[in-house]
Structure formats: structure tokens, C-alpha cells
Amino acid sequence: MDQAQFIGEHLLPGKLGHFFAITAFVTALFSAISYWRSAQTEATDARSSRTWLLFGRNSFVIHSAAIAGIFIALFYIISNHLFEYHYAWRHSDLSLSPKYLLSCFWEGQEGSFLLWCIWHCVLGLIVMFTAKGLESRTMAIISLVQVALASMLVGLYFGPEFKVGSTPFILLRDQMQDAPIFQQPNYLSMIKDGNGLNVLLQNYWMVIHPPVLFLGFSATLIPFAYTIAALWKGDYQQWLKPTIIWSLFAGASLGTGIMMGGAWAYESLTFGGYWAWDPVENASLVPWLILIAALHTLIVFKATGRSLIITLILMILMYLFIWYSTFLTRTGVLGDTSVHAFTGEGKSIYWHLLLIIGVLVVLSAGFLIRRWKSLPRVKTEEAINTREFWIFIGSFILLLSAIQIIITTSIPVWSPLAKAITGKDVAPPADVVQHYNSIQVWVAIIICLLSATVLYMRFKTTDNKVLFKRLGITAAIALVLSLIIGFAQKISTPQYAILLFSCVYTIVAMIYYAITVQKVKLKKLGASTAHLGFGLTILGILLSSYNKEVMSINTLGMYMDFGLKTKNENIRESIENVLLYKNVPVVMGEYTATFLGDSTSDTDPRVFFKVQYTRQDTVTKEVKESFVLYPNAFANPKGQEAGSMSANPSSKHYLTRDIFTYVTKAYDPKKKVEDTSQFKSHTVKEGDTIYINKGYMIFEGLDGDVKDPRYIPQNGDVAVTAKLKVYDLKGVVDSLRPVYYIRDNYAYQVTDTFSEQHLMARLENIVPEKQSVEIKVKQSDPDDDYIVLKALIFPYINVLWLGIIVMVFGFFISMWNRITKKEKEPKKNFNGEYTFTK
């Protein structure tokens, strides 16, 4: 191909981009080595250490600039629709609206890694200026991880089988070398448009969810880097403050990112909820849980000097699981078990990621083992009535919960091994949600009870009398409240009733604590706010999923006998989808749903189905409420998926509940052939009946009085209309007056229509000798227009969203408090003894 010249290609941005990628890789490597040298020479040769430090800083700044360069080059390619580049061709098209241009970045794997890199650079620069004595070591770790990420983007090929990373700047003709079109110099003129962005990503949640989630992913690197730096230096004082702050930041951003994913799923996916225990969701939840555990033990260590070892281990595990989750989601190893669409990049990324994880494991374990003997330990035992004891228990339970989730999620990873040993081909549980819920509900109960109780305790010593008095009051209020909620919401399953009490207990306790103990000083309220948010989140999850109600139960009386034991089981088994004919109201719970039709536009590939919901008073029939929902379906216009439909839900939000609907099956109005039905001829006499769908017409005779505006009388015309009365099952609904006239010896007809029933009638002919007329009737089958709809009610889902917001707010209050708090000078020689701090 080297001899061929191609017309119209823009090769410069790609070459620049690739150059930036290589630069980014090299400078990250150089930065890591410089910082490492700086750390190593720190004690022996201060001047050389300083020089290396400056080298490291400059390299990292150049590295950041190069990463920015990659981003700009790729953005230029996508926004200018340079389809000679595979990335632009595959992830965008001409019709893509500008607000989704950035979404193209995270549809592809290279773009996601790039986004991750960008956040690392931003955070790394902040660390560079704030880390002080730990800078060289922390930045060495950050740069090392940047080497790993940049290596994902270099795209160096060593022979046809072996490549390192994949560059986003590969040309379409290089990616698809075998296609004959690329033999032609003017191939570009034949590529009119790109493949387009996955329709599911064309959603506002998908514009903000990936950047926030990747910010969370990136933020977890910082506490990890500080932890390794602390081990490296053997100093466990200096790292405390920045690590707590960065852990809070990571917890807030990763938590927000995860739940934004939930909100996206709720708004635009049809799995009917915000959380499905999908492997991809689990993969980011697990590091978050471990991070939260680590944050708590870290605070214990700061206050009491205990729990250092578990903190170090948790921090390391947390970051390893970040990479493990990348491994799970990027290599396609999850295979059959996940909803999410993956780009399986084949074997190269599989080994690439395993290598990175391997390096991280060796590095962390190496430092930990080297320092193991010298780690400060507190010899005495902690008392049972102290914060440190119970926080330790709580953190350990979070870790166990994470382990349970990761074992089930990793089934596809370890099942080949299990097959080799036991011969069984292990699959995920048949009911995944039930599986996780039945175990994790107990974790939630314990964590709720602990988080409320622990805050009433103090580090090192607690006054039992005060403690029990406060606990007693809280428990009493919580019991009353949860009984009220429990009865109102009919929560009867024992474990969920206990969960209800636990989360109400947390909520009550946090409010009580904030008011009576902390006297509502906002700066101090971080912990209680975050835990209040956690309690609300759990309450929201409980209420919205326990009483989640399928509204679209098929009430038409059509259900199949599935051979189950009871009739109820048979009914419930499947009839969650309801068939709605156009304009035929169907009762759904307290609502009446009517499918009114569809609307399409040429610029939007979506088809919106208009469904009207009305709620009437059962006695007076007075309409109390009426609204229209527009669940839509996407007809993919391009590529091999062309013509397939994917549905997006539409919801009606109330303060106390959501009505959530989506179309599970629909006709494609753009494909529907207009007027497939034919006119049918009826010869009738006066008073005769013509049967139509859902009713009949009576021919009441002819009338010489023609008032149809479409008929303009002329001299010499003979004109009559046929009087047709249309009846449905209840009575007269309309009358039709088709016109027949003779002008210049020719017969003409004006058809009259009754649009509600798709009815067209034409007075075709008059047969005076038989005293009859020929009336042609056409009625397009309204049964063509139907949708199959699923509707769910999520009660109190707003409690969940509120809980998340409150929790994240709590994280930020804590961060603010920690950043602004004046720290006492760290002791030079740590001897395992701490003065009491509150």
C-alpha cells in the first residue's frame, strides 16, 4: 500500500496525535524514573535529589501537555468528521449533534483511557504542588501509572500478532486493510458518513456520567500513591492529612459517578431500575466499598494510632480492584454475563492489563513486606465501647461484602478453573438480583446500625451512661417511625423490616447527633451528613424496590396457562406487558392508558409513542389527572444494525413516586406501508346496514343538498350526497356525507372520512333502476397500530436520589473541614502514642 497515493486525506492531525502519544509515554517514563531517583538520593545527596525532582516535575508537565495534545488532535478529527480515521468513522457521523461530540471519546476504548489519563494529569499537577515532603515518591507512583495508561495509547506494532496498546489515530484503510475499497486512491469520496454514536450514549446522562466516573477512578490513584509513598519513606504521619482528603474526594466522585450510571440506566435503559447488580456496576462498586472501609480505618489510625496495617492493606486492595475492574470490563472476559457492550480488543489488551496489575501487585506487596516488621503497632487492646473497635469491625464487614460481590462477579474468570477441578460449568445465579440482595441486605443492616451507633461513641473512651441514654432515645424514635412506615408501606418480610428499622435508626441518629452533640456547626457535620445520606439512600432503595409495582398487568383477561400451581402464579408469571391498540383505552392500576399514536421527524431517528394516562374518580368519573408520556424507540439508521429498534423509557415524576414506562414492542411507523387496505364495494338500499370494524353504518338515503367545501358547484352539475350514519357499539358517533356529482358527462366522487376509525366512504355509483347505490368503504386496520408497553411504579425513588446528594454533600463538608483545619506539627519520631483527639 505504500506506493498508493490517496486523495483527500488529512494525515497531519493523526501524525501529530501519534507523536503526542509517544511523547506522553516517554515523558511519563522519564518522570517516573526522575522522581524515583530523587526519592532514592533524598537522604544521601540533597542537591542531586533536587535536580532529579525538577527533572521529574518538568517531565510531568510536558507529559500533561502531550496528553492535552492527544485530546485536541482527536477532538479535531472527530469534530471535523475526518472519516479517514477509524475512530471518527466508527464513533461519530455527520448528523451527530455537537453536544455529543465528547461522548465519542468514551464510546471507544482508546478515548476512555485518554479520559482517564487527562484526569490523572489534572490531579497529578495538584499533588505536585501540594505533596511537599512526599512529592517525589507520590509522583513517582502517579507517573508510573501514567506510563501504564500511556502504553495503552501508543499503538506500537511488533509483527502482525503482537501490538502494544492501540492508537486512536489509526486510519480506516489500515484498520481494514483487506477491504478492496481501500485499493482505490479516491476511496475517501466513497465514505460518505461515519458509523455513528451508539444511540444509548446520545443521552445527557451519558455526557456527564463517564467523565465523573473516570474522575472517581483517577482520584483513587492519589490515596494509593500516598500510601505507597508512606510505606516507601516509612513515615506514617505526613501522609495522613492529604490521604484523608483525597480519599474523601475519591469517595465522593466515584460514588457520584457510580450513581450517575444508575440514573442513566434508570432514565434510558429498559432493565427497569437504577441498579441491576450488573458486573460492570459491581466492578466499580467494589473499589468504592473498599475505599470507604480504608477511609474509616485511616481516621481511626489518625485518632488512635491503631488499624494502620489494615488501612495500608485496604488502600492497596482498593487500587488493585480499580485495575481489576478495568480488566473485567475491557477484555471481554465477562462474556455472556453483562448488559454492557464491550469492545473486545483481543488478547493483546488482556495480557497488557494483566501485566499492569502484576506490576502493581509486586510493587505494593514489596513495599508492604519490606516495612512489615517496622510498622508501628499499638500493644494494648482497645475497649469495646470505643469508636475504633466498631469502626474496625464495620470496615472489615465492608471488605467482606466487597469480596462476596467480586467472587460472584468474577464467575466467568474463575469458572474455567472450577470446570477443570469439579467438571461443572459454573454460571452466574439464575436470579442474580435475588442472590446479591439476600446477602447484601445483612451487610446494609449491620453497616446502618454501626454507623449510627459508632458516631455516639468516642475514640479511646466512652461514657457508657451517656452512650446508652442516647442510643435508647434514638432506637425508640426509630422504632416508632419504622413501625409507621412499615405498616403504611406493608413491609412484612423479616429481613427488610429489620433493614427498614436500621436505616431509619441511622437517619434519626444522625439528625439527633447533628443537633444535640454537634450543635449544627456546618463544618463539623461532614460525618453525620454523609451517614445521613447513606441512611436515606438505603431507605430509598428499600422503599422503591420493595414496593416496586408493575402497573402494566394485562387486564384484558388474556393470559396463558403456564402450568404453574396456582392461577395467580400463572398470571403473574408473565403478564407484565400490555398490548395497547391505538385509541383503545386500557385500565392500568388507577390509570387508564391510551395509545394515541406516534410522532416521527426526519432529523431525529427516534419514534415517540404518545401514551396518555388519565386518572378518574371511581364514582364521579371526573378526570382528576391527565398526562402524556412519550416512551420512544430508536430505529438505528446505519450500519449492520440498521432498522433494529431499541427502546428508551419515559417517566412521570412525582414527589413520592415515579411512573416508569417503556415500549417493549412496536411497529415501525417509518416502514409501515400506507393504505394497505382496499376499498370494498357495498350495494345498498335506503336503510341498509354496512358493517365496519367496531361498528356499522346505516345508509339513510340520498340528499341533493350538498354542502361539502371540497365540492365547488358549477353550472350544469348534478350533485348528491349519501347520508351515512356511523355507529359504534354505544351509539351514533359520526355521520358521513360522501359526494357524487356529474359534470360534463363524467362522474366524480368526493370521499368523506372519519379519521378516528380510519374510515373512508365513497359514493361510487348510483343505480336508479335498482333503487340502490354503490358505496365503497375503506377502513385501514387500526389493529396495525399497537404498542406493547411495560409500566412500573417506583415509589419514593426521590428518597434515593436525595440520599445520594446528601451523602456526597457530606463528603465535601468533611473535605472542607479537613483542608481548612489547622494541623498540629507532626511529631518527628512516632512512638505509637497519641494524644487524645476528638
Binding site: 466508527r90 458509523n195 432493565f271 427497569g272 441491576a276 471481554g332 455472556d336 453483562s338 448488559v339 454492557h340 457492550a341 464491550f342 469492545t343 473486545g344 487492646e381 482497645e382 469495646i384 473497635f389 474496625f392 469491625i393 472489615f396 464487614i397 467482606l400 469480596i403 462476596q404 467472587i407 460472584t408 464467575i411 460449568d425 459454573v426 454460571a427 452466574p428 445465579p429 439464575a430 436470579d431 442472590h435 446477602i439 394485562n554 388474556m558 393470559y559 396463558m560 403456564f562 403473574r572 408469571e573 408473565s574 403478564i575 407484565e576 406487558n577 398490548l579 450500519g639 449492520q640 444494525e641 433494529s644 429498534m645 431499541s646 417493549t664 414492542k665 389493529d783 399497537y786 406493547v788
Partner: protein
């Protein structure tokens, strides 16, 4: 031994029990024939759509009943009944993973996962939970 260590041991023991017990929850990949040995028990079956045979979905009659034929990895063909709307594009699927159980000569499934050939190599669609 410290008190913390005792509590840790207890927790670890409890966790081990829970994890061992959750192995009972895990399903296995089976064929129609092996799933038929225990009718009513939930399994995963991987197979391929028999495109020559009828796909029966008539929303007018019942919007929650879709039946089709699948050839499993052992090469046996069985009728499959799905209690839900017909998944879009099932005709184009390369491979189907079904969760369900055997019953009176057919496989009743409540979850279908499909692999479709598309611009992504491993694009997957899940059509979930009828029950």
C-alpha cells in the same frame, strides 16, 4: 490473643460459611438434555437460533408469549418459550444464552441474552426478566 483477633476470626468464619453457601446459588451451563434431567430447576443454556423454524410471537393474542427453536451446543433442538415480548433482532443473533428450566418437552426461559454481529465485536443485548 487480642479481642480484635477473636472478632476477626468469627467474622472470617461467618464469611466463609456465607460464601460456601452462596455456591449453592450458582447456576451451571447445561444442554437441553442435561437440563431435562431435573425439570423445574433453573439452568443456563447456550445455543443458536434455529432460523428455519417458526418464531411465534403474536402480541394481539398474548404480548407475553414468544416461542422459538434453539439448537444447543450438543446439537439438540428444543422449543423455547419466553414469557415476554419478542426481543428485537433475535433473528440476527449469533448466539443466545437463556436462563430457565425444562418443562414438558420445552425450555421455559425468563431471560434471554443475545450476541449480535454488529459494529462492535462483542455487542450484547440482554432481554430481561419476565417474572
Amino acid at each position: 490473643m487480642k479481642r480484635t483477633h477473636i472478632v476477626l476470626l468469627v467474622l472470617v468464619a461467618a464469611a466463609v460459611c456465607i460464601i460456601v453457601s452462596m455456591f449453592g446459588d450458582f447456576s451451571t451451563y447445561e444442554t437441553f438434555a442435561s437440563a431435562a434431567k431435573e425439570p423445574g430447576k433453573q439452568y443456563h443454556v447456550i445455543g443458536y437460533l434455529e432460523k428455519d423454524k417458526a418464531l411465534d410471537y403474536d402480541p394481539v393474542k398474548d404480548p407475553n408469549h414468544f416461542s422459538f427453536y434453539v439448537k444447543d451446543k450438543a446439537g439438540n433442538v428444543s422449543k423455547v418459550v419466553f414469557n415476554g415480548a419478542k426481543p428485537t433482532d433475535i433473528e440476527k443473533s449469533e448466539q443466545i444464552v437463556m436462563t430457565g428450566y425444562m418443562e414438558e418437552g420445552h425450555f421455559r426461559c425468563n431471560k434471554i441474552q443475545m450476541k449480535c454481529p454488529s459494529k462492535y465485536k462483542n455487542d450484547q443485548v440482554v432481554i430481561g426478566n419476565a417474572s
